[in-house]
């Protein structure tokens, strides 16, 4: 946890579990920004603050039930669930698909990457590439996006992501690869030449 050692974090969690509100507020402050950036990419900026606040409040109310070893993974689980719930509630007027139109268990056929064409233009700066990445992430199915962000942005291990998203680790592996490949394909389609380019 940023700014707080594991021991200090464990101490704060223990104090918060015993009802120390100030200890919980300290814990919440440490995860506030990571939760927010995760929520922004999950549900968009308009709802992200609500999602984070709901998640933190829910965490405080159910802190006594927390028995895991990682408060950060636990709070991300709550926030991710809140974000997915928010997206499901939008299904009447969907902006982003929760799942691919036709879920295919055969990862190989879905994940076949687009090959770079001979007339690709080079994307000179990472800044342009980041815009493409942001756009590509927004088009991913929510579960894929969550897994990919938890891995590449938040740095959670596959086992932790499986716990956060309550799926098997094989599903996590598949979602991360699909999501990452989709982003890579979007980059290539816009002229990205990869690390060598």
């Amino acid at each position: 946890m940023k700014g707080v050692s594991a021991e200090a974090s464990a101490l704060l969690v223990e104090r918060a579990r015993r009802g120390d509100a100030r200890a919980f507020e300290q814990l919440a402050r440490d995860v506030e920004r990571p939760l927010y950036r995760h929520a922004v990419r999950m549900v968009g900026q308009a709802d992200a603050e609500d999602v984070v606040q709901d998640a933190l409040l829910a965490a405080w109310r159910s802190l006594t039930s927390f028995e895991g070893s990682s408060f950060r993974a636990w709070i991300f689980r709550i926030a991710t669930n809140r974000a997915l719930d928010r997206l499901r509630s939008r299904r009447r007027h969907p902006e982003l698909p929760l799942d691919p139109p036709a879920e295919d268990d055969d990862d190989r056929s879905w994940a076949e990457p687009a090959a770079p064409g001979p007339d690709l233009t080079d994307i000179a700066a990472d800044r342009e590439a980041l815009v493409i990445v942001e756009e590509a992430l927004a088009t991913l199915p929510a579960e894929q996006r969550a897994a990919l962000l938890l891995r590449d942005v938040e740095g959670f291990a596959y086992e932790e992501i499986a716990s956060i998203t309550t799926v098997e680790i094989g599903t996590v592996k598949s979602r991360i690869h699909r999501g990452r490949l989709a982003v890579r394909n979007a980059l290539v389609a816009r002229g990205w030449k990869g690390p060598a380019g």
């Binding site: 507020e25 506030e32 984070v52 190989r108 596959y158 598949s174 690869h177 982003v183």
Partner: protein, 232 residues
């Protein structure tokens, strides 16, 4: 067969040792997979390098704040709004041109205001131009100029003046209501004219400014409580 599916897990060191060794062996002999691996690794690097948005405010719930703070903030906000509404309502009420329509609207307001004003004046009160403001709406004028403002007044002096309603009203304008009432003269001036000539309005309830002060006070309280709730 290219192990594309395993490449991301290989990058993330999420494969068991045997799968990792198999992918490593394949990578040693497959340029396509090496290229793909490098692309996926760089894609992950780009995702990790995305700019981090920052919330516009603190999102940490103030769970250490007293439990009554939030409801008190809500109540103060509602009270401020209600006081503001009352200020506007009372200001509009006091500014409305009552009685401009002649005899139709004015009498409806006269009894209350007149009754409240007649007692301090007493039977001996003088009917100056100020008192004339109420004359236009007095339906049952009585003897003295002051008592003449009341609807159900029961003044003692000059009972003969009760015979003349219009007299009270019109004479009061000129400040000679008492003599006129006592003489029981018939004056033909219209009461409506009297109303226009005396613009002062009766005061209904407290001053509108009291409501404004309350609205500002409650608003300030709500603001302070909100700051306290949001404070880090």
């Amino acid at each position: 067969m290219h192990p594309f599916v395993e490449l991301s897990a290989y990058i993330d060191d999420a494969l068991d040792s045997s799968a990792k060794a198999a992918v490593g062996t394949h990578l040693g002999s497959c340029a396509v997979c090496r290229t793909r691996l490098a692309e996926l690794r760089d894609t992950a690097r780009l995702i990790a390098a995305l700019p981090a948005p920052v919330p516009s405010r603190s999102l940490v719930p103030r769970v250490s704040a007293p439990f009554w703070l939030a409801p008190m903030r809500t109540l103060a906000t509602l009270a401020s709004g209600a006081a503001l509404f009352l200020f506007v309502a009372s200001a509009v009420m006091s500014a409305l041109p009552f009685g401009t329509g002649g005899g139709a609207a004015a009498p409806a307001f006269a009894p209350v205001s007149n009754a409240s004003r007649e007692r301090p004046a007493g039977p001996a009160g003088a009917a100056g131009p100020t008192g004339a403001a109420d004359q236009r709406t007095s339906l049952t004028a009585s003897a003295s100029p002051a008592a003449g403002f009341a609807v159900n007044a029961s003044p003692t002096p000059a009972p003969e003046a009760q015979r003349s309603l219009q007299t009270d009203a019109t004479k009061a304008v000129t400040g000679t209501a008492a003599p006129a009432a006592q003489r029981g003269e018939n004056v033909t001036t219209s009461p409506v004219v009297v109303a226009y000539s005396a613009p002062e309005r009766p005061q209904l309830g407290p001053s509108p400014w009291i409501w404004l002060v309350l609205a500002v006070g409650f608003g300030a309280l709500a603001f302070v409580l909100q700051r306290r709730l949001r404070a880090r």
